[in-house]
Symmetry: C2
Amino acid sequence: VAPDDESGRREELVVTYDLTCAPGEDPRAKALGIALEQTVELPESCVTTEIRQRVVGRLEGVTPLPEGRFRSVIRFDAELAAGDLPQLLNLLFGNISLQSGIRLVDIGWPQSLLDGMPGPRHGIDGLRRACGVSRRRPLLCAALKPLGLSTTELARICHDLASSGVDLIKDDHGLADQRAAPFSERLAACGAAVRRANARTGRSSAYFPNVTAPAGEMDERIERAEAEGCPGILVSPFLVGLDTVRRRARLGGPIVLAHPSLSGGFFHPDHGIAPEVLLGQIFRMIGCDGVIFPNADGRFPFSESTCAAVRDALRGPLGELAPGFPVPGGGIDITRIDHWKRRYGPDTVFLVGGSLYAQPDLAEACSALAAALEGPAD
Amino acid sequence: VAPDDESGRREELVVTYDLTCAPGEDPRAKALGIALEQTVELPESCVTTEIRQRVVGRLEGVTPLPEGRFRSVIRFDAELAAGDLPQLLNLLFGNISLQSGIRLVDIGWPQSLLDGMPGPRHGIDGLRRACGVSRRRPLLCAALKPLGLSTTELARICHDLASSGVDLIKDDHGLADQRAAPFSERLAACGAAVRRANARTGRSSAYFPNVTAPAGEMDERIERAEAEGCPGILVSPFLVGLDTVRRRARLGGPIVLAHPSLSGGFFHPDHGIAPEVLLGQIFRMIGCDGVIFPNADGRFPFSESTCAAVRDALRGPLGELAPGFPVPGGGIDITRIDHWKRRYGPDTVFLVGGSLYAQPDLAEACSALAAALEGPAD
């Protein structure tokens, strides 16, 4: 972002909102409304010229899009976010989340803001090292499930997965601290099961326990996971708070694999935040080394172009931040794996769940998928 | 919730989802999909009979609604939430947030789950005491704004508001720790301004600073607010994480006034969580003594019936939890105040912002509103 000599602002957030107007609603007035609502929360007539120039978002322009929509670009003084992620989220979409027909589709980030974010601390290289996969092929991740099994049953499945070429085994994100398989017991049993399998196969499958937990308890679960030798953890940022994840990543610690639970409220086509911004840019900024998202053709309505945009937001340039792994899940099975390999490229973690468990022999299904990932896409 | 002898489940969450089906989509299959997705995340054929009976949500029924929608009721074993708010949110709407046409409209809470939540620690009586308003009339709350003013300018406005009959002055929720008015400086100056005004008027106006802050910093801001003599604070649960607010309320401390920033992603008419469930029941459960929400006829698309439902969810019976204050904001000015008094009743905090600042004389406008709240609605 270039310095803006006219207003004296040095760094700006350049935010693109796509607008869907109600009948009779003027797109320019709607865009100006956003510029006011997200800053001074007052009509323009109630603020001084100085506040208007320095604080109110500056509308760069409104241009028509197909299907009756409009694209608006608003520049906000980066200082309004105060280097503080909760206030950044508030500035970008806080109050306007309560309105309608506003979709945040792109953000031009000021360098200072990116510099203040941890970004992936381990990133693609770190996750490859943890799983012992230095060769540039996609990784295979399987979800440990279902909720309701005992610790012993889950550990047995974990062993089967690790024995069959799965690089990364993650808890299903609904596995918390239920009585059927309490966190500490599950961690110990699954950690041991994976170590036994690795000793036999000579590989380095990794187990990532779910540390999504009540406030104040996540740190302890992370410490236990580290003590158990787990190189990474699974967390759902929208369940624990995005800034809780950012703070952890800044402190260092294990690899962070993020689950998108509860984020889907923002993905309405007319209103919300584009998945590539929220799950791509923002999850990467707060320190997620890999981000799970619904693959096209699965049971969630993400299109292939949305998935490609999330992939690119995670791996493409974003200031000095390290790239993160896209982790598409859903609709990935042996019959389609070559298609997805071509779509996503080698720096991808493929997450499989239902399609594995639907097979008569789980281990055999894993081995077949793992073998498919070893070879070239064609 | 009655014990369920058939399955042996003792306590259940009874969750109502309204379904909007895509062409060709079967409502019963969609409802069964929710029951599976939110628990085992596997097709029914992949789980044992025992897991199906014990863990998968139990579909009570699907009935048609007007406009082509369907209402489904699903019972979940309360144990799946593990007494853990992040996992509770995950169970209620985690993965299905990423789907479409599913709106959570009601929850029958098991007693044990409510018992584990703090609820309002001060509630309606506590907030009345803090503002010195024992008589059963609505309270007047004004937002301190705009973002961008200096500490001195904000403190002057704070003094004017407190001198003119405003019971409760809250920071605009975008006031964080920006250079123009840093948190500590603002807290000290505004706290002092309100004390000066109270000494002159003999009243007990209260100042609630915004403590929405980066993870790990909120507690310190709350302690500073308490040290400054502020009886309460403002926080945006969706910006800091809902469970962060719950944990604080459980620990005790000042009165919690909640702002709905970023929550609006969930309020799409076809998909999301009904405002009365999210801002009403859930915000109350986690310990919010008052909850701000967009009033009908303001600049946000909440209907009068939605506002009434939020009001009732905050004040009506909810286990043994204390009632919280509804705090409607937007569209409230002197010409309509009697209408809103009748609508909301005396146990209400009316939040005014723009309509005050649009008046030629802020103090005069406050005094007129305060006088209108003293009298009966008619």
